[in-house]
């Protein structure tokens, strides 16, 4: 059988928000672009984003601006964010949202007819552009339709809709290929037929999203298997701060089959309160010192905030996600959880049934159809679920170039640095747009001075042999069983609360599963064979789990999405440290790297009394870099 070959200027792996935005940008720069989707076009996990996209347009509160958004993002990330990414993100998000409107997006409106903005955890002002609670769907559909519009134009101007952009659906990439130390393309297989396919392209943008399927309870779909993280590692790039995983505080807990499915933070933004089995509104007990001046410590003030935000502090239900997740975890552990091991989230007491159905339609639908709960009348049962990985490919902020691999770019959830140790809700959709575009620009710029880099036959042979391998083995284990075993290990030992001994145990167990996974055998043939597909996904998840566990055991403090029972406090010395994971072909190695110092003009945006809570006296005396 002859190998199917394609040649493009830019190959975009991943067709969620970041990938599609990168593809639009590269096409508009005049390049030929291939978009790889692991599933069908338009089904990527971006559709699951509910709450909205954060951008300081100032439509709901005119005091908002990029500086306030920047400050909120840095606080949310406990100052471990790469300042430059947070800065670019805060500055450029409004333009990226408005641009979507020029492509046909229809956001909800304010009375003045502008884009409506809603409250969310950690955001000082109402900032999330939204469409009910299905903002991600609007975003991905808008960009999908933008791609189609560009293809229609190409059909008119160049004779074929696919002359410049082609979408390859249901295709898995198994290797990023390099020649002469630079990216040369990628290799993979069609999920439908199992047939191999080669892409030659001097620039590759990784936009593969997250890693949630590494964990047992997750809001992520089957696609979140860390493919891009693993592809980048194997291509010689590094993963930054993989210990930081966001456990979203509110996933469904019952029935078991939907455990982990997301309950949008908008429920709390719209007034939902959290109570334990004793009926206590427990979040007041969990306001950390660094947030005491911004969050109400009593119910009366918290309730007043919904109508008068200028004279009251915010309800503690709207603390950043890491804080709320840990609080729920503590309540359940202390025996004050619900029957199914969660807590109650109730929006029915504060807003009318009509408004709930209008503002939270898909939540109403989801609970009614899947759990038999009418959220306009009753409380939901919720608990933490693995939702997002802050860690990811170590990139240059301005052009999204993966450090150490010329021609490789990464954007969206798969990239690290933007969110520090914890991501604020709403900052993901805007991240996709801002850095998806920048990755497209970066790739286009790179291609200008780096033309074709042909892939050698020996490289092709090696990639091809890897795909064939699971069918050539016999007597190995079943990939489904190994996947479940990995999920148990990560859930029990690398979860919300961690200790050294458990992490050490996890590292040993992950290595053992990886050794056994080298022998997995799959039933059937190559044609649309989920067992075969999982064999490759498993490989990726194992590298991700190893990176996370090894980074987590080294970080001896608690910060954002990394909580150590044996090191419960936040430590200013550790704030200056990024963990950089690399792969030597056998195992993952983690090293420390200094976090870039906040420049003076950004340092000066903060009240020094606030920065003192995060920084060492030495850092404070320097007052940022010049």
């Amino acid at each position: 059988m002859t190998l199917e070959r394609h040649k493009y200027d830019v190959l975009v792996i991943g067709a969620g928000g970041a990938g599609l935005r990168a593809a639009v940008e590269a096409r508009e720069a005049g390049l030929k672009v291939a978009i790889i989707c692991k599933s069908l076009f338009g089904k990527a996990h971006t559709v699951m984003a509910e709450g909205g996209a954060a951008a300081s347009m100032g439509n709901a509160n005119s005091n908002d601006n990029w500086q306030v958004h920047f400050r909120d993002t840095m606080r949310g990330g406990k100052f471990l964010n790469h300042y430059r990414m947070a800065e670019l993100h805060a500055k450029e998000s409004p333009d990226r949202i408005w641009e979507l409107e020029t492509w046909g997006a229809l956001f909800d409106r304010t009375k003045e007819g502008k884009i409506s903005q809603r409250n969310f955890g950690g955001h000082e002002y109402p900032r999330l552009a939204h469409v009910g609670d299905r903002t991600g769907l609007e975003l991905i559909r808008t960009m999908q339709q933008r791609i189609v519009a560009l293809q229609q134009k190409d059909a008119r101007d160049h004779g074929s809709a696919e002359s410049f952009i082609k979408v390859f659906a249901e295709l898995t990439i198994t290797d990023i290929l390099k020649e002469n130390g630079k990216v040369a393309g990628a290799y993979g297989y069609y999920r439908e037929t199992g047939a191999d396919v080669l892409f030659e392209a001097p620039a590759v943008v990784i936009a593969t999203g997250g890693v949630g399927k590494t964990f047992k309870i997750t809001s992520n779909s089957w696609e979140g298997t860390g493919d891009g993280h693993a592809l980048a590692l194997k291509a010689g790039a590094s993963l930054k701060d993989m210990e930081f995983l966001q456990f979203h505080p509110t996933g469904m807990v019952w029935p078991p089959s939907v455990r982990g499915i997301l309950v949008t933070e908008s429920v709390r933004g719209e007034g939902g309160i959290l109570t334990n089995s004793l009926g206590e509104r427990f979040m007041f007990k969990y306001i950390p010192d660094v947030f005491k001046d911004k969050y109400a410590d009593n119910e009366e003030e918290a309730d007043r905030w919904y109508t008068d935000q200028d004279n009251n502090r915010r309800p503690p239900e709207l603390l950043p996600r890491d804080e709320v997740a840990r609080a729920i975890n503590s309540e359940v552990k202390a025996g004050r959880g619900t029957e199914h091991g969660g807590v109650f989230l109730d929006v029915s007491k504060r807003i009318s049934a009509e408004i709930i159905k209008k503002r939270l339609p898909s939540m109403w639908h989801q609970f009614y159809e899947l759990a038999g709960v009418d959220i306009t009348k009753e409380a939901m049962e919720v608990g933490p679920t693995c939702h997002y990985v802050m860690g990811g490919v170590d990139v240059e902020p301005d052009n999204a170039a993966a450090i150490g691999v010329p021609g490789l770019f990464a954007a969206g959830e798969v990239a690290g640095g933007m969110h520090g140790s914890n991501r604020l809700g709403g900052n993901s959709l805007s991240d996709l747009l801002v850095f998806g575009r920048r990755a497209g620009m970066g790739a286009a710029e790179y291609v200008k001075s780096n033309g074709d880099n042909p892939v050698s036959q020996s490289t092709i042979d090696a990639a091809s042999a890897r795909i064939e391998a699971p069918f050539k083995r016999s007597g190995g284990e079943n990939p489904y069983a190994l996947h479940q075993e990995l999920q148990e290990v990560t859930h029990n030992l690398v979860g919300i609360i961690r200790t050294k001994s458990e992490l050490d145990e996890a590292i040993v167990k992950i290595a053992d599963i990886r050794r056994r996974s080298a022998d997995v055998t799959v039933a059937g043939d190559r044609k649309f064979n989920p067992g075969f597909h999982l064999a490759f996904d498993l490989d990726n998840m194992l590298l991700v789990a190893e990176s996370s566990a090894k980074s987590a055991v080294l970080r001896e403090e608690s910060r954002g999405g990394h909580t150590r029972d044996d090191f419960p406090g936040m430590n200013s010395e550790w704030r200056q440290v990024n963990h950089i994971a690399s792969f030597d072909g056998v195992q993952v190695n983690v090293q420390k790297k200094a976090l870039p110092v906040l420049p003076k003009e950004l340092f000066d945006l903060f009240d020094p009394h606030e920065l003192e809570k995060y920084m060492t006296p030495e850092e404070m005396s320097k007052g940022g870099s010049n």
Partner: protein
């Protein structure tokens, strides 16, 4: 809690296939997709099924359950009788690839045929002002998760392969309606082209599409019928016809 559930799952490909009986454990609260996954993990490792979000938001796990087009992730096992055998088959309107997976590329081809949104030339990013009430009409159609159940159930194409060429189907009628009702879209004559180029006239309003829509979009009442009515108005009302020509010449409409 676990009980046994009897399933008949269609297995095969474009050349041949048939229903295979399996018995599988089912727990309280589980949906059909859960038991399909259990079959996959325990009995048929290579059973092909599409799915993504498992929360009714992505529209991937479309299939026919006891002959009815449905999302497997939103179909509760408890909705069937204890002794009932559940028959699971691939979407009938599209060619089978393998087992429960069909080739839905027809829909992506049709999407390419619908002219894109056209933003007003002089309206810069950030300047758009729209009333909530005006965007809501199109927002209803933008809830579409592209599960293509409406395309599958529509009898214009379900058993009439020959109609596919000239019929865009309900999913794309709501796409046209969405653009037609979009407060800012500048492209004219969307209703007319729906009738003349996308096969709107072939629809005889049996509402099957509305019935299967998991997003409860009122495809027939809110998109198809209003477009048909206005097409009819424009076609047969000579005053309106003349008016539209005159205004068009002056560049007003």
């Amino acid at each position: 809690m676990a009980r046994k559930l009897k399933l008949r799952i269609w297995r095969g490909d474009s050349t041949s296939g048939g229903l295979k009986d399996v018995t599988v454990d089912v727990n309280d609260g589980e949906v059909v997709l859960d038991v399909i996954h259990r079959v996959q993990a325990e009995q048929m490792g290579d059973l092909a099924v599409r799915w993504n979000c498992k929360a009714g938001k992505c529209g991937s796990c479309s299939m026919e359950i006891n002959g009815k087009p449905r999302l497997a992730c939103m179909t509760q096992c408890a909705s069937f009788g204890e002794e009932e055998t559940i028959t699971i088959t691939p979407l009938r309107a599209f060619p089978v690839i393998k087992d429960l997976v069909t080739d839905v590329s027809f829909n992506y081809k049709k999407a390419m045929e619908i002219p894109a949104y056209e933003h007003p030339k002089n309206l810069a990013p950030g300047e758009a002002r729209m009333e909530q009430i005006d965007v809501e009409r199109s927002q209803e159609f933008r809830k579409c998760i592209e599960c293509f159940l409406c395309q599958d159930v529509c009898h214009v194409v379900r058993d009439h392969e020959e109609n596919k060429k000239s019929f865009a189907g309900p999913r794309f009628f709501i796409r046209i309606a969405e653009l037609d009702m979009h407060p800012l879209d500048m492209l004219k004559n969307r209703k007319k082209t729906a009738q003349e180029e996308h096969g709107l006239g072939m629809c005889n309003i049996t509402k099957c599409c509305t019935e299967v829509c998991p997003e409860h979009i009122r495809i027939t009442d809110n998109a198809i019928i209003p477009m048909k009515e206005r097409v009819a108005d424009q076609k047969y009302d000579p005053v309106r016809w003349l008016g539209s020509k005159i205004r068009k010449r002056e560049g007003i409409l």
